[in-house]
C-alpha cells in the first residue's frame, strides 16, 4: 500500500499543478512577490536580567532592547546606516531649522501582549509620551536628552512652567506631529531613534499608572515583535507581530531567550550541542576554538560598539599622599612626560587581555570611533588633523624613550623620580585587573622603573566611579564615554570645562588659556557648536578640537567597546546599523542561517557591506541629505 502511494504522489502532484495551471486566476500572471526569507527561530541565553521595560524611563541598553523590537520610532536606520521612514512617512523642516513636522503613517495599531488590537497609533501618542517623560515623578533617566533640544521642555521638567501646551511637541491633527526646537539641531533625526522620542498611548498610560513597563503585560506593542512571555530570570519569548506595517521585512518568527547567570561560560558549549542559536566566545577559550578545524569555521568577530575608551591623564589629582599627588601634578603638566607614556603604551599588549586573536580590531586611535558619522562622503575620523592619528599608531618605543629623556631633563630637580602613577581599576571583573597588570609591567619595563612607578589600585564596584574618576582620585585611568546622539559634539563633553573626567582647565601650561579666560579647547568646541548649517565645516572644526586633545596627550586613545567573537547563526550586516539609538538592537531584517558564518566569509561580507555603505553615503550626499 505504501509503495503504491509513493508512486502515486508525483502523479497526483503533477495533476494538481496542471489543474492549477488550467484554472484561470487573477494573480496567476503576477505571482505575489513576498520578500520574506527563510529563517529559523532564535534561541539564546542571557545573564543580565533586565529590571524594567519602561522605555520612557530606562537608559540601559539591555532594557531598551526590548522596546527596540516592541515599539517603533518615527524614523529608523537601514542596514547601511541610512535614515528611513518608519512610523513617520515623511517629514519636513522649517527654513530656520527649528520646526520639524512629521506625517504619521496611517493604519498602524497598538496591540496588547495577547495580540489584541488596542488603538490606532496617532500623533497624540508622542505628545502623551513626552508628558509622561517630563513628569519629574516618573524619574526618567532619558528626559534630559529630550529637554536638551525641545523648546520649553526643560522649563516644564523643572516646574518653571506648568502649562504643557507650551512645550514644543504638538499633534497638529490625528496624523501630523510637530516638534519645535530650542535651537537648530543638525542631528535631530538621529535623536528620534532613541527611547525618549518613542510613542506611548495616553489612555493606556493612565490605565496602568505606575505599573507601566513593569512586565510584558503592561506595555503596548506597535513594533515588529510582541513580547508574549516574560518570566523574570527565567525566559522571554518574542513572537512576530503579523500585523506589523513592514511585516515583509521580519523574517525571524520567534525569539526565545533563556536566563542563566553563568551564560557566558555555558553558552559556547550549548551552542555546540545545538541548543542555542548563538553564543559569545569568551576571550580565554578563543584559542581553543580557533585551533579546532571544525569549531574555527563557526567563529566570527562580533561588531564593535561606539563606546570609546582612553587612558586619561588627571590634571587635578586628589589622591592620598602616599601616591604623591603634588609630584604627579608637576609631572603631568610636562608635555614630554605625557608624550613619553602616550607613545610608550603598547596598546596591543593591553588589548590582548580582551582579544587575544585579533586585538587590532578593537584599537581606536581617536576619541570618536570610526564609522560614527560622516560628512561629504568622508568618515569623520579622516577629516583634517584626525587623519594623521587615525592612520598611524601611537605606540612608538623609540619616540617614547626620546620623550622620556626630554622629560627627565626638564623635570630634573623639580619632580621626584620614579614618578608614582596611581592607576585605579574595578575589582568586579577579571579583565580590567589583568589589563592593569599588563599595562603596569609593560610601561615600567619600557620606560624604566626609575622613571615611573605604576601602582594599580583595586576599587570595589560599589561606588566605583565616584570613588575614582569623579573624585579625581587617579593619576592615569582607563575611562570611557558613549555617544548621546549622532554628532561629534557628543564626544567633547568629557573635556569641556566642568566635566568630571580629567579637568584640563586646571592644567598649568599658559598656552592652554586665552585672554578671555576660556581654554583654547573650549573656544575650539564653542566655534564648532555654533556651526549648525554647514555640516562639513562643523565636522572640520570638531575634528580640529579632537586632534588637539590627542596632540597634547591629555588622553591616550585606546579602544572601542563591544567586539569579541561570536559563534552565531544570525546573519551579520543585515540588522539596522546605527551609532546611536535603538535601531541597531532590532531583529528587523535579520535571518537565522543554516550554518554559522566563519572568519573568511565574515570578512568578505564586511568588505561588501563597507562598499555598499560608502556608495549609499555618497548617494545620500549627492541627494543633498
Amino acid at each position: 500500500m505504501k509503495r503504491v502511494l509513493k508512486r502515486l504522489i508525483p502523479v497526483l502532484l503533477m495533476a494538481v499543478v496542471l489543474l492549477a495551471g488550467c484554472t484561470p486566476t487573477e494573480e496567476s500572471d503576477t505571482p505575489p512577490e513576498s520578500k520574506l526569507k527563510e529563517s529559523g527561530d532564535v534561541y539564546n541565553l542571557y545573564s543580565g536580567e533586565i529590571t524594567t521595560i519602561n522605555y520612557l524611563v530606562t537608559s540601559t541598553t539591555a532594557e531598551f532592547s526590548v522596546a527596540a523590537n516592541a515599539v517603533d520610532c518615527l524614523v529608523e536606520y537601514d542596514h547601511l546606516g541610512i535614515v528611513r521612514p518608519a512610523l513617520a512617512e515623511s517629514w519636513e523642516v522649517s527654513d530656520d531649522g527649528l520646526v520639524w513636522t512629521f506625517k504619521i503613517r496611517e493604519g498602524v495599531k497598538w496591540y496588547t501582549y495577547q495580540g489584541e488590537e488596542y488603538a490606532d497609533v496617532t500623533a497624540q501618542d508622542w505628545v502623551d509620551a513626552a508628558r509622561y517623560l517630563l513628569n519629574p515623578d516618573n524619574a526618567s533617566a532619558t528626559a534630559n536628552i529630550f529637554y536638551s533640544v525641545v523648546e520649553n521642555a526643560e522649563e516644564y521638567y523643572n516646574g518653571e512652567i506648568d502649562d504643557f501646551e507650551q512645550v514644543g511637541v504638538k499633534a497638529r491633527d490625528t496624523y501630523t506631529l510637530e516638534y519645535t526646537l530650542k535651537q537648530p539641531v543638525p542631528y535631530f533625526l538621529s535623536m528620534l531613534t532613541y527611547c525618549p522620542f518613542m510613542p506611548a498611548n495616553g489612555k493606556f498610560l493612565e490605565e496602568v499608572g505606575d505599573q507601566f513597563g513593569t512586565d510584558h503585560t503592561n506595555i503596548l506593542y506597535c513594533g515588529a515583535y510582541i513580547l508574549t512571555e516574560w518570566r523574570h530570570q527565567d525566559e522571554r519569548i518574542y513572537e512576530k507581530n503579523e500585523n506589523y506595517w513592514d511585516a515583509d521585512n521580519i523574517h525571524i518568527k520567534k525569539i526565545v531567550s533563556r536566563y542563566n547567570k553563568e551564560a557566558s561560560t555555558l553558552a559556547p558549549e550549548m551552542f555546540l550541542r545545538g541548543e542555542i542559536t548563538g553564543a559569545t566566545i569568551p576571550t580565554a577559550s578563543l584559542d581553543e576554538w580557533m585551533d579546532d578545524p571544525e569549531k574555527s569555521k563557526m567563529v566570527r568577530p562580533a561588531e564593535t560598539s561606539f563606546y570609546s575608551y582612553w587612558y586619561t591623564f588627571n590634571f587635578d589629582p586628589h589622591f592620598p599622599d602616599e601616591y604623591e599627588p603634588e609630584n604627579w601634578k608637576i609631572a603631568v603638566n610636562n608635555k614630554n612626560f605625557r608624550k613619553a607614556i602616550f607613545h610608550g603604551l603598547d596598546r596591543i599588549s593591553a588589548l590582548l587581555t580582551l582579544d587575544p586573536y585579533e586585538p587590532e580590531r578593537m584599537l581606536s586611535n581617536t576619541i570618536s570611533p570610526k564609522n560614527f558619522v560622516a560628512a561629504g562622503g568622508k568618515d569623520y575620523t579622516m577629516i583634517g588633523d584626525l587623519a594623521k592619528w587615525t592612520t598611524g599608531d601611537s605606540f612608538d618605543p623609540d619616540l617614547a624613550l626620546e620623550y622620556r629623556d626630554n622629560a627627565k631633563a626638564e623635570l630634573e630637580g623639580k619632580a621626584k623620580f620614579p614618578i608614582k602613577v596611581m592607576m585605579p581599576y574595578n575589582t568586579s571583573g577579571t579583565q580590567w585587573a589583568n589589563e592593569a597588570q599588563v599595562v603596569e609591567q609593560q610601561l615600567e619595563s619600557l620606560l624604566g622603573e626609575d622613571f615611573i612607578d605604576i601602582i594599580p589600585v583595586g576599587f570595589p564596584p560599589t561606588g566605583f566611579l565616584n570613588a575614582t574618576r569623579r573624585a579625581g582620585n587617579y593619576a592615569l585611568q582607563n575611562c570611557n564615554w558613549g555617544p548621546d546622539y549622532a554628532d561629534p559634539e557628543t564626544y567633547t563633553e568629557p573635556f569641556y570645562p566642568d566635566g568630571t573626567y580629567n579637568w584640563p582647565e586646571k592644567a598649568t601650561d599658559p598656552a592652554y588659556f586665552l585672554e578671555d579666560g576660556r581654554t583654547v579647547y573650549q573656544k575650539m568646541v564653542d566655534d564648532a557648536k555654533a556651526e549648525v548649517i554647514d555640516i562639513e565645516r562643523r565636522y572640520e572644526l570638531f575634528a580640529a578640537a579632537e586632534a588637539y586633545v590627542i596632540e597634547e596627550a591629555w588622553v591616550i586613545p585606546f579602544r572601542v567597546g563591544g567586539g569579541g567573537y561570536v559563534a552565531t547563526k544570525l546573519e551579520p550586516f543585515a540588522s539596522p546599523y546605527a551609532p546611536f539609538g535603538v535601531s541597531s538592537l532590532q531583529y528587523k531584517g535579520q535571518i537565522v542561517m543554516e550554518e554559522p558564518m566563519g572568519m573568511e566569509e565574515y570578512k568578505a561580507a564586511q568588505a561588501k557591506w563597507e562598499k555598499d555603505r560608502t556608495a549609499a553615503l555618497e548617494a545620500e550626499a549627492a541627494a543633498g541629505r
Partner: protein, 322 residues
C-alpha cells in the same frame, strides 16, 4: 575510717556538725591520682591511626612547601606576566610544559607560582581568622556561658547579629576599606567568631552543671582550678578541633565571597581567585587545567585539615581512651 580520723570528728562534734574543709592540694592529688594522662592518651590514639599519619605528612609537606617555595631555585614570580621573546606579547594560556609546570593563565602568569602564592594567602587568612575566632569566640562564649545574668542579653544579641546578612557588612567594609587582604581578614573576623562563641557557650552550659563539677565545687575547689582542670581539658580538645575545621571552612567561605564578587583583588592570588579564574575557562577542555590544578590543591588542603580535625576530636574524647 581510721582511729585518728574518728577522734578528730569527735573533737569538733560539739562545735558544729559540718564545717568547710580547707582545700589541700596534696590530698586532692592523692585521691585523684592514676597513671592516666589525658594528653598522653589523646596523642597515643591520634598517632595510632594510619590515615592520620598519611594526612599529617601530606599536610605538613604542603604547608612546608608552600612556605619555602619562593626561596627555592628556578621559581617564578606569581604576578609577573611572561612575554614571548618572539612576538613581544604575553604568553597566554600556555599548557603545562617544562618551562611552566602548571601552564600559564589568561594573561601569561605562571600558574604553578600562582597556586602556591594563592595557597599561602588563603592559608594565612584562614589561620589568622582561626586564631581570632578562638580568642574572641572563646572569650565571648565563656562570658555568655558562665555569667548567667548575661545569658538572655547575649542570646538576643547573637540572634540579631546572626540575622544581619553578611553581604551587607562585606559590601560596606569593601567600600570603606577597598578590597585587599586586610579587608578580607577584617570582614571574616567580624562575623567568624559568632559560631565559635555559641559553640563554647553551649559547651560551658552543658559542662558547668555536670555532677563532677558540682562535686568539685562542694569540695571547695577554687573556680580557677575548676576551669583549668575540669573545664579546659575538655574544651581545649574540642577547640583545637574547631580550629582545624575552621580552616577548610574559611577557605570555602573565601571561595564563596569571590564567587559573589566580594573577594580579594585579582592581582593578589588566592585559592578563591584562582578557582574563579579557572571557572571562566572551564568550558574549553584544553584550558580546564586552569580550574583543575587549583581545585585539586584546594581539596587536598581542606580534606587534610578536615580529617585531622576529626581524628583529633575522636582521639581527644575521653570516652575513647582506655
Amino acid at each position: 575510717m581510721s582511729q585518728k580520723e574518728l577522734q578528730v570528728i569527735q573533737a569538733i562534734e560539739d562545735e558544729a556538725l559540718f564545717t568547710f574543709a580547707e582545700f589541700d592540694p596534696e590530698a586532692a592529688e592523692r585521691v585523684g591520682y592514676s597513671d592516666y594522662s589525658y594528653w598522653g592518651s589523646t596523642l597515643k590514639i591520634f598517632f595510632k591511626n594510619k590515615t592520620v599519619i598519611f594526612f599529617l605528612i601530606l599536610m605538613a609537606s604542603l604547608i612546608l612547601f608552600a612556605t619555602i617555595q619562593p626561596y627555592l631555585p628556578n621559581q617564578k614570580s606569581s604576578t609577573k606576566i611572561h612575554v614571548s621573546p618572539v612576538t613581544g606579547h604575553p604568553l597566554q594560556n600556555q599548557e603545562p610544559s617544562k618551562e611552566h609546570w602548571f601552564g600559564t593563565n589568561v594573561i601569561g602568569q605562571d600558574l604553578w607560582a600562582r597556586i602556591w602564592s594563592g595557597t599561602r594567602t588563603s592559608l594565612l587568612i584562614a589561620i589568622i581568622v582561626g586564631i581570632w575566632e578562638v580568642c574572641f569566640g572563646i572569650f565571648i562564649g565563656a562570658i555568655w556561658g558562665y555569667v548567667r545574668q548575661l545569658d538572655a542579653f547575649m542570646t538576643e544579641a547573637y540572634n540579631v547579629i546572626n540575622n544581619i546578612p553578611t553581604t551587607i557588612l562585606l559590601m560596606l567594609l569593601a567600600y570603606i576599606l577597598r578590597p585587599s587582604f586586610r579587608t578580607m581578614v577584617i570582614a571574616m573576623c567580624a562575623t567568624g567568631w559568632l559560631g565559635m562563641a555559641r559553640f563554647v557557650r553551649n559547651q560551658i552550659v552543658i559542662i558547668r552543671d555536670r555532677e563532677y563539677n558540682l562535686a568539685s565545687r562542694c569540695l571547695g575547689t577554687p573556680t580557677s582550678r575548676i576551669i583549668t582542670k575540669n573545664l579546659l581539658p575538655y574544651l581545649v580538645s574540642v577547640i583545637v578541633m574547631r580550629i582545624a575545621l575552621s580552616i577548610p571552612g574559611t577557605i570555602g567561605w573565601e571561595v564563596f565571597l569571590t564567587y559573589i564578587g566580594l573577594g580579594l583583588p585579582i592581582d593578589t592570588p588566592s585559592l578563591g581567585n584562582l578557582l574563579n579564574e579557572g571557572r571562566q575557562v572551564m568550558m574549553a577542555p584544553a584550558l580546564r587545567y586552569q580550574l583543575i590544578f587549583p581545585a585539586v590543591v584546594l581539596s587536598v588542603i581542606t580534606i587534610s585539615f578536615y580529617v585531622l580535625g576529626n581524628a583529633f576530636a575522636d582521639a581527644s574524647d575521653p570516652r575513647n581512651h582506655y
